[in-house]
Symmetry: C2
């Protein structure tokens, strides 16, 4: 947890610090992300950072927590029950995700990047447990659909969960590719990562969903 000092900072400074580190941690492994480099760019003393945070990990976890909470505000209100089928619910998650990306590109990128930090020794175990948790949630969702007779039930739950999880993560990358976006450039300019029109972005999602639907739905 960040120290009290950090929370007492005026919003402007807190924001600047957060943004700068989100950027740094979105471009390097945990180990390679350089506090020294960021404070230099921010033009504040390195000591200050250690008035705000316990250590590098504390800082990192704050960014994660913060980004996740922001994203939560976009998707929290969505309920499976309000949709007649799973895929329209799933689609809506991405619609909100695109909105989140538009309004918080740095946080969006950071959260995406986190998924590929398995090889950072310092957070390997943590990353593993996060993934475990995400997979469990997927399993529960799928289980429910099976029970209600929407999804096939001839395959192991874990297999379907892993499949869906993998594809869900890769969706962002696919959209980048389709729209030939230079994510890095957009990040620097603080533009949304995904530059396509709303409808062309949704088209990408729909294509993916068609594939997923064919896999998961009962024949």
């Amino acid at each position: 947890m960040p120290r009290q000092t950090f929370f007492k900072l005026k919003e402007e400074k807190k924001e600047a610090i957060t943004q700068a580190f989100l950027f740094e941690f979105s471009h390097h492994s945990f180990e390679d992300a350089s506090i020294t480099a960021v404070v230099k760019k921010l033009r504040i003393a390195k000591g200050s950072i250690y008035q705000y945070f316990e250590d590098k990990l504390d800082l990192f976890l704050y960014l994660k927590e913060e980004s996740e909470q922001t994203k939560m505000q976009y998707i929290m209100h969505l309920n499976r029950e309000d949709y007649s089928d799973f895929w329209s619910y799933y689609r809506e998650l991405y619609v909100q995700g695109i909105k989140f990306d538009k309004e918080h590109p740095l946080k969006s990128r950071f959260l995406y990047h986190i998924n590929f930090l398995i090889s950072s020794p310092a957070i390997k175990e943590l990353a593993k447990s996060w993934k475990e948790k995400a997979l469990m949630m997927m399993q529960q969702m799928i289980q429910k659909e099976i029970e209600e007779g929407h999804f096939r039930k001839d395959l192991p739950l874990l297999s379907m969960a892993h499949f869906l999880y993998t594809i869900s993560i890769s969706m962002g990358e696919y959209m980048e590719r389709v729209h030939r976006v230079d994510v890095s450039e957009n990040l620097k300019a603080e533009l949304p990562l995904l530059q396509g029109t709303q409808e062309s972005l949704l088209k990408s999602i729909d294509d993916y969903i068609i594939l997923l639907k064919s896999s998961f739905n009962k024949p």
Copy 2:
């Protein structure tokens, strides 16, 4: 390219060096992989490494080349034409992949790890182009299946290629998870990464293929 000196080394030493660095580069990002640490474990002078290789990147690329060539020997002889349908061909690729993993666990792990090195600034561009190439190959394969009337043709090629690529990469991780393997432990002991019985490993692949088949085949 490694220097001549390296190739003149006796097989034993060459092997020891290769193995040690495969291990190191399978556990860290390119930047974090430490030559200093490896030579210490190998009990050779750091200077020697620079008699063998131009620099860190040269060493890394050698490992990649070497690992890929070894893997190629396992899958090169497979031809789509020899199989009545795409998925039995695809399955056979994994059968051979498992064999490769059994006999060359370090190389297998290294090649897998490479797929997640997008965030290493020093090799980012390279990694991108490798991925581009892999995607192109996927596209070609899928295109052919579409032309021959086996795959659906109502979706963009790129979407299908990306989908298949993503799932193909994740297959290894799925097998790990199903068999509750501690990959790191097995690597250290130089055991195959995948510890399930041949048939239970194949079962995992088959489950995945069932999902893929439903997605890709014509309804």
